[in-house]
């Protein structure tokens, strides 16, 4: 993963966020992925979302497993603290980091191989534990980095570039999340920044694990006829009926008023998500209804995208564990070591 420094091309003055930082300040090293790889578009969306949110770069921890997708944290927010870990283990490491320091924004980036095969157990348990983090699966239906083997998200009937047509059932992270009690589930398409950026911003504000499954075509190994993770397939089969806007906590309260047919959900930090359009009878807080809707479209060969499910009422790992409001790693030794008198007293119990 060479870290090539991006050339800084002088341009017209760039817009600044609340911290006075430009989008450049949220970029990272130059990508070394294949030209046209969906993952690079997701990197751009993450860069944008964090810039728009004005999250201080040093208060961001970006973690990943192993894969082309997992290389991407080097390509955004160079001033953030990064951890490119081992294949499939990102969720476990993020859990420990979040436990030790709840003050940071955790952005986890993974692939469909990383999350749905080798790391499936950790993903499932991070969801159950409600680790406060954004968990992005850059889903291309293949193992890009090991050259195109089908992954567990490949649909039945998918034809790989080499080898046999897939006949085994796929694992759908959204349906999985629904069954595990996930509280924030979204699906998007790497080619749709307009949809992805608000979802990412809402995910950062979510009080728990926000899982975003982003269909992200692998131009080298899975963008051909017969793939259900190609640019063409997504353009032809994407259903974008669930449209949500994210309004950060700082913005005008008037924006929270939602008109007829709209529905708003206030996030833990006071931000608001407004569902601008949802299909008839769709309730993004009703687990059963969401599952039925996703399944129905799936059987029609369609891919539903958008912020599909949201539950802002559940406690996160920190609330469940009653950890202090500030980071555990900042507790002083005096606070955590009971000292000599307490030990001497305790010794009497062992007589």
């Amino acid at each position: 993963m060479p870290s090539i420094v991006k050339p800084l091309i002088p341009l017209a003055p760039l817009a600044r966020n609340d911290l006075g930082l430009t989008i450049r300040d949220y970029e990272g090293a130059m990508s070394t992925l294949c030209a046209g790889c969906g993952h690079d578009s997701i990197t751009a969306a993450i860069t944008h979302a964090l810039w728009e949110l004005s999250t201080p770069p040093h208060m961001i921890a970006k973690l990943s497993g192993i894969g082309c997708s997992s290389k991407t944290p080097t390509y955004f927010v160079r001033g953030a603290h990064g951890f490119n870990s081992a294949h499939g283990r990102m969720a476990a490491i993020a859990t420990g980091a979040a436990a030790a320091n709840r003050e940071l924004t955790y952005i986890g980036v993974s692939g469909d191989g990383d999350s749905l095969s080798i790391g499936l157990g950790h993903l499932a348990h991070a969801i159950r534990r409600a680790v406060k983090m954004v968990y992005i699966i850059e889903n291309n239906g293949v193992y890009g980095l090991t050259k195109g083997q089908l992954s567990a998200s490949a649909d039945v009937g998918t034809r790989p570039k080499k080898g046999e047509t897939n006949v085994v059932a796929p694992i759908d992270p959204i349906l999985l999340g629904l069954s595990l009690g996930a509280t924030f589930l979204a699906r998007s398409f790497s080619g749709d920044k307009e949809q992805l950026i608000p979802i990412l911003k809402a995910a950062v504000a979510h009080n728990g694990l926000a899982l975003i499954d982003v269909i992200s075509p692998c131009v080298t190994f899975n963008d051909h006829e017969g793939s259900t993770k190609s640019y063409r397939f997504m353009r032809e089969h994407e259903v974008k009926e669930v449209v949500a806007d994210f309004i950060p906590e700082r913005e005008e309260i008037s924006a929270r008023l939602s008109g007829g047919g709209r529905r708003s959900v206030t996030m833990h930090d006071g931000s608001v998500i407004t569902f601008r359009s949802v299909p008839e009878g769709y309730d993004p807080t009703d687990r059963m209804a969401v599952e039925a809707y996703v399944r129905e479209h799936q059987s029609a060969g369609e891919v539903v995208t958008g912020l599909l499910y949201l539950d802002e009422t559940k406690p996160s790992m920190h609330q469940v564990n009653h950890t202090p409001p500030s980071a555990l790693n900042r507790l002083t030794f005096d606070t955590v070591c009971p000292g000599s008198a307490a030990l001497a007293e305790l010794m009497a119990d062992f007589r």
Binding site: F83, R89, A92, G96, N101, M347, F350
Partner: protein, 612 residues
């Protein structure tokens, strides 16, 4: 063996074994006996030889009393408390000639079990309890306290002291206290009425345990973690390590939980835990959690046994190469595979020392008893942060799950933890640029930052090849620069791990090297060999990498033996690998059947080898 016809009185020097059925409540009765002897000021050990089963299989408990403190496992029993019909035959056979068997005479013993060189002492515990207690469960449980009453009489244990212990234990439940008291009296009175008490081997008060405690290694380890300031742990249940986290959880609830007043008037006060204990989905996640927290600057640890270490291998290599502190407790049990989960061994030495693919080597500490579990746990956290690397503390089932008499733990309030080189934002402000793996200190450690530090301190951890700047590399020289420093860093730890304990005798040509829970048996063997005219020196390794003294010790002795509890002589191999000494310059003495080592095993092996 000759029959002992004129029994000599032996005070504070005997061993008894109790045979029970698992899950019938015998553990508390057996523990009561041991605790009573301890409270009488006499050195004592209790070893639980239990099955991997919840109820029904045979289980044994061995108590050894020895005024000199030789309380390693005994192989000869003066008294067998045979309470398990399934194992009568073997149990009766195990008593030394001239010894005694205590059994439940509610049922007659088969005639073919009789031995004329031992004395059978029967007492009708089941019948007495049937009569004295109404509830079926109580009738079963109280049989145990009833035989304990007999043992109190037979060994001359202070009855009032035992009554006091029962009163302490059941201070909140007078009904249960009364039942226990009654059962104790049933056994005690029956035996005093029918047997000339005490037996020729017996206890007499001493003052050898005044400043001691009775504690198991897992509890001591948890105490060490708490006092060392650990705030995050990830773990997955496994025998014999579970007790570490069970105890850590309990201790945290006592010492690290406080209630904050309501933030607004009329609101609820909130509970705040200054810790996070996460029961993980497997050991891979457990070590992942520890690394995430260690990277973040929290003291974090996990506890497991061999199978868990196997699973953790990949991430241990990641932590080694990316230089993340972590403490891992391995309470060893027998392998390979699931092995015998309730039996002890020291067979994870090489697994831990060189865990993970590629060139990896780790820092290890080897406690010998619960006191060292407490001490080394604190040391392990310091080592992990000083050297920014995983440190594994290798306890074992014998240390972890048995109660040991050890000096009471103390704490120095002036203790300052060694957090290693961690840059603050002020430090960063003084620097032109920060590079993660540059500017090593005298121990070859480079300063780190933790997530959340100022942007200048941000860097990208990667398990892939990186140079001293922390950047990705595939360049051989830049790669070598980092991995060679890691090797030197590991070597530098030799001066920081707990130093070996060395005890010499004038003119000794025999040198005994050992580690961990072999300690007591080997020390006793040194005494026994001395009595037989063989002077032996003693060295106990307490950390890895090894101090130079280990190699010097081998060179100084024409006959060096390495005594350990595994089949493949792993410690011997490691000494040879690390020092370059020929492997044949050391002879192995091995015990790996799953039971703790005895002095007799060592003495026999040394003598046989010397005679050859």
């Amino acid at each position: 063996m000759t029959i002992d016809v004129t029994p000599q009185v032996r005070v504070n020097d005997f061993a008894i074994k109790l045979a029970n059925v698992n899950g019938t409540g015998s553990a508390s009765a057996n523990g009561l006996i041991m605790q009573a002897i301890f409270r009488m000021g006499i050195p004592v050990s209790g070893k639980n030889l239990f099955p991997s089963n919840i109820q029904g299989l045979p289980t044994w408990y061995e108590i050894r009393v020895n005024a000199q403190g030789h309380t390693a496992r005994a192989t000869e029993y003066d008294l067998m408390v045979a309470m398990n019909g399934q194992t009568y035959r073997d149990d009766i056979e195990a008593v030394r000639s001239g010894g005694y068997v205590l059994y439940d005479s509610s049922w007659p013993l088969d005639a073919d079990l009789a031995r004329d060189d031992v004395t059978f002492l029967g007492a009708p515990y089941a019948s007495m309890c049937l009569e004295a207690f109404a509830k079926p469960r109580e009738r079963i449980l109280m049989k145990n306290i009833a035989y304990a009453g007999s043992i109190v009489a037979l060994l001359g244990i202070d009855l009032e002291l035992v009554r006091g212990l029962l009163a302490e234990t059941f201070s909140r439940n007078p009904a249960l206290r009364d039942s226990n008291e009654l059962a104790l009296r049933l056994g005690y009175d029956y035996t005093t009425a029918n047997v000339a008490c005490p037996l020729p081997f017996r206890v007499a008060p001493m003052d050898a345990t005044t400043d001691s405690i009775l504690i198991d290694g897992n509890t001591a380890t948890a105490l060490g973690a708490l006092w060392a300031g650990a705030t995050v742990s990830g773990w997955y249940p496994i025998t014999p390590a579970t007790g570490v986290m069970d105890n850590f959880t309990k201790l945290c609830a006592t010492y690290r939980r406080h209630t904050e007043p309501a933030s607004e008037p009329g609101g609820e006060p909130t509970v705040v835990n200054d810790y996070a204990i996460i029961q993980a989905e497997d050991e891979i996640a457990a070590i992942g959690i520890v690394l995430g927290a260690g990277w973040s600057g929290a003291r974090s640890f996990t506890s497991t046994s061999g199978p868990g270490i196997s699973l953790m291998n990949e991430l241990l290599g990641l932590a080694y190469y990316t230089e993340i502190p972590a403490v891992i407790v391995d309470v060893q049990r027998t392998g390979p595979s699931t092995g015998m989960p309730t039996r002890t061994q020291q067979a994870d030495l090489m697994l831990c020392a060189y865990a993970s693919h590629g060139d990896t080597r780790h820092i290890l500490t080897f406690p010998a008893n619960p006191a060292e579990c407490f001490e080394f746990m604190v040391r392990s956290f310091d080592l992990a942060e000083h050297f920014q690397t995983p440190v594994m503390m290798l306890s074992d089932l014998d240390i972890g799950m048995n109660d040991w008499v050890v000096p009471a733990f103390t704490w120095d309030d002036n203790f300052v933890p060694d957090r290693g080189p961690v840059l603050s934002n002020e430090d960063l402000a003084q620097m032109k640029e920060f590079f993660r793996y540059s500017n090593p200190n005298a121990d070859f450690v480079t300063a780190r930052t933790v997530p959340g530090s100022a942007e200048k301190g941000a860097y990208f951890i990667r398990g892939s090849g990186h140079d001293k700047l922390g950047h990705y590399t595939e360049d051989p020289d830049k790669y070598l620069e980092v991995v060679d420093r890691l090797k030197r860093k590991h070597a530098a730890a030799a001066a920081h791990v707990p130093a070996p304990i060395i005890e010499t005798r004038p003119g000794a040509e025999v040198g005994l090297i050992t580690l961990g829970s072999c300690d007591l048996a080997v020390r006793e063997a040194v005494d026994l060999l001395g009595q037989a005219g063989i002077a032996a020196d003693y060295l106990r390794v307490r950390g890895f990498p090894f101090a130079d003294a280990v190699a010097d010790f081998v060179r100084a002795h024409p006959h060096t033996f390495v005594i350990e509890q595994n089949r493949d002589a792993q410690l011997r191999s490691m000494i040879s690998i690390e020092t370059g000494l020929p492997i044949l310059s050391m002879r192995p003495i091995l015990a790996y059947g799953g039971f703790p080592l005895s002095a007799e095993h060592v003495v026999t092996a040394v003598r046989e080898e010397l005679e050859n």
